[in-house]
Symmetry: C2
Subunit: 142 residues, 2 copies
């Protein structure tokens, strides 16, 4: 979703388009690494020095309610925000916490088979694979 689309989307919902809100939406909707609220805060501070964590959280909740992002809670209590609402596998490095999304037709087919077995209408899903990424492997072997 580009800036223009975000503006229209917010207006359609009767929401005000402020510069902070636009910045936060553009940021999270374009990121593929599932940042935390704190990371968003730090990265937007350069351009918006007065932006606050409270605003970040309020905007993220808004996007969650609008079903544009999903929250991923982790064992250390942190929450990361994922703008990909389609079925995918979260590939998570157990050392550095880096995440990338993985999607194939095969995953979709197998997932559909499981859902038909379960006979439920899911309102959401989450598939995590924890592994050691190449960067962390290399650090260990040096």
């Amino acid at each position: 979703m580009n800036t223009h689309n975000i503006i229209n989307f917010l207006r359609e919902k009767g929401l005000k388009v402020t510069s902070q809100r636009l910045a936060i939406c553009s940021f999270i909707l374009s990121r593929k690494d599932h940042p935390t609220a704190e990371q968003i805060f730090q990265e937007l501070r350069d351009e918006y020095p007065t932006i606050s964590l409270g605003t970040i959280y309020k905007t993220l909740h808004l996007l969650k309610d609008l079903r544009l992002i999903q929250e991923l809670g982790f064992n250390n209590g942190s929450i990361r925000y994922d703008p990909d609402m389609e079925l995918h596998v979260n590939m998570i490095c157990s050392k550095c916490g880096k995440i990338y999304d993985y999607k194939t037709k095969n995953v979709k087919n197998l997932w559909d088979a499981i859902l038909s077995e379960l006979n439920v209408k899911p309102v959401g899903q989450r598939i995590d694979v924890y592994y050691e990424c190449d960067d962390c492997k290399n650090i260990n072997s040096t």
Copy 2:
């Protein structure tokens, strides 16, 4: 794992078998509903009035390090503890938060397919399906 096995397991690891530790281990290892630390605390209080949350957490971390349980972090910041270390799907009611585990051949197939496609050695996994359970459906329809 019954009480006798737990005692032997702890002894083998050189850990002391205290009544609190035994109670917490027996409790979490036999529960299928993935309780929180607070729930364990409340339920054990009757029998062990002086037990503390600190001890619950320390014991849970111990069991995690021993790979007898896994932690599941959620969006509200809470952590729930799951004694099933085999591959399974967590069926989670999005309304009441109730969880039950689901295992079939297809789940295993999905997992094997993903792993062979990805060509990684996983160190763990997590598969959640969020849905509305029968109890919550009935409440809504009355």
